[in-house]
């Protein structure tokens, strides 16, 4: 049902945990559908994502997509990172089962929420 890459990210998730010095936090999903993703980013002065961590409550796909996006965007500028789509995350994982494409494929949304939160924080 899941690709080897999905299972690898589920089994050995990259960048799990809370980022204590995060300057942007994004949370998407809800308990009703059973997926909650929380992304923490630390954006440097040069608008580069220097560090990123995630916490996820959800199925294998939810955990794997969260892990994958942290790998994709670490070291990217926020302008570039914002363009990453949920579909791209799924493609990097060699695809997801069709039923998972809409419900558990929210990592890019979580990242955009974290970037928006970073910008809000910066304006204050």
């Amino acid at each position: 049902m899941y690709s080897e890459k999905v299972m690898d990210h589920f089994q050995n998730p990259r960048n799990v945990g809370v980022l204590e010095d995060a300057n942007g936090i994004g949370e998407v999903g809800n308990m009703r559908c059973g997926d909650i993703m929380k992304l923490y980013i630390k954006v440097g002065d040069n608008e580069i994502i220097e560090d990123i961590k995630f916490q996820t409550f959800g199925c294998g796909a939810a955990i794997a997509t969260s892990s994958m996006i942290t790998e994709i965007v670490k070291g990217m500028s926020i302008a570039e990172a914002e363009k990453v789509s949920n579909r791209q995350v799924a493609e990097e994982l060699d695809g997801l089962p069709p039923a998972k494409m809409h419900c558990s494929n929210l990592a890019a949304d979580a990242l955009r929420a974290a970037i928006a939160n970073y910008r809000e924080n910066k304006q204050r």
């Binding site: 299972m7 308990m31 909650i36 916490q55 409550f57 199925c59």
Partner: protein
């Protein structure tokens, strides 16, 4: 790596005796039981002999047994057949919120056709309250369909009491006994049901065969059309090998039931005790009135599919009522009807034990569970108290 199958409510392996009972009918005894020649007559005789053995095991008459293509088909024939037959008498049907979809979706289809449908609620253990049936039942009620035991949480319903209420008010009573026949004592006469569905592959028989018990004198309309097989209630050439395997599996399951139940209950209680001793893990379903092989728990702050995947990697096969595993966006309708929070429903795990389950298997599950839960909780943004 160890490989432990704890999903017996989904299906069971075919037992050797049932397999051996099937072989002749897949090879030399291939005749069509409806044929008049010797090839057909031989198989007809064996098929009717199987019906008699099934009837004996269930302590009913052979004429009351109709072989079907499984539990779902038996449920459809019972519900749709009664509804069509009695539509001029009344058009009200009563079922419960925790039924298998084979019953619930069939009743909902009738509702779309203009029948009135009452779906009875359940208490926090998944149990139907007889007083609720008494309140819901009326002169228009033609059929009450309530499962004997629930496939997800294992709660056993007070069928005898419920059937008596239906009969007092002149309604027929059907029960889906797919999880109970061969697993707990099922005395059809004592339960007083008019219709009962059972399936072979839940009791170490083959897939694709089941039965509908229809009490003598209970009339059903046809829901499918064809030949006169199974007295036209289930037309189509009989699945002879399947029926032979089912008959053997059923006879043995009923004979072995007291011993199997004792074995399973001990292991189930050990598993439930061990799991619920873990922090924030609680039991779903009734603490006593439950199937001997069913342990269903919710693990707080962790999602069910990720638990299944983790257990699968440790060689343990189980299931869950989380949305991800139900194939829809909502968690199990059974757990929601019991009033569980979304979080508890998403974090549910069902272990269903079988004949081959050993105490060592349970020890192994209890050994790996804490680490699996801890790893997933560390990943979870949901903290205790939320």
């Amino acid at each position: 790596m160890r490989s432990i199958y704890l999903d017996h409510a989904a299906t069971t392996p075919l037992r050797q005796e049932a397999y051996e009972a099937m072989i002749p009918y897949l090879t030399e005894s291939f005749g069509n039981p409806s044929s008049i020649h010797a090839f057909g007559r031989k198989v007809r005789k064996d098929l009717e002999d199987a019906r008699e053995r099934v009837a004996n095991a269930l302590k009913v008459q052979p004429r009351e047994i109709f072989f079907t293509g499984g539990g779902t088909e038996a449920d459809n024939i019972a519900i749709l057949g009664v509804a069509a037959r009695l539509k001029d008498k009344g058009r009200h049907i009563i079922t419960s919120a925790v039924e298998h979809h084979a019953v619930l979706h069939t009743c909902e289809a009738l509702e779309k056709q203009g029948y009135a449908l009452t779906v009875l609620p359940v208490d926090k253990y998944g149990m139907v309250t007889p007083a609720d049936l008494e309140k819901a039942i009326g002169a228009e009620t033609i059929l009450v369909s309530i499962m004997h035991a629930n496939n997800e949480v294992g709660t056993v319903q007070p069928i005898k009491e419920l059937a008596a209420i239906a009969h007092e008010r002149g309604a027929l009573f059907h029960t889906d006994a797919v999880q109970t026949v061969g697993n707990i004592p099922v005395d059809i006469e004592d339960l007083g049901v008019d219709l009962l569905s059972a399936s072979a592959h839940k009791i170490y028989g083959p897939k694709g065969v089941g039965l509908l018990y229809v009490r003598k004198g209970t009339k059903l309309a046809n829901i499918a059309y064809g030949g006169a097989q199974e007295r036209s209630i289930r037309p189509g050439t009989e699945n002879v090998a399947g029926i032979m395997g089912f008959a053997r599996a059923l006879e043995l399951a009923v004979a072995e039931q007291p011993e199997t139940s004792r074995h399973l209950t001990v292991l189930r209680d050990k598993l439930i005790k061990g799991l619920t001793a873990l922090p924030d893990v609680c039991l779903n379903g009734h603490p006593q009135q439950r199937l001997p092989g069913n342990a269903n728990v919710s693990v707080e702050r962790v999602e069910g599919e990720s638990l299944i995947l983790s257990l699968d990697m440790a060689g343990i096969a189980v299931s869950s009522g989380s949305a991800c595993t139900s194939g829809s966006l909502e968690p199990s309708h059974v757990l929601m009807a019991m009033g569980l929070s979304h979080q508890r429903a998403h974090g549910s795990l069902r272990f269903t034990l079988g004949k081959s389950t050993s105490a060592e298997d349970i020890d192994y599950v209890l050994e790996v569970m804490p680490g699996i839960i801890e790893r997933l909780r560390q990943m979870s943004p949901v903290q205790s108290g939320r």
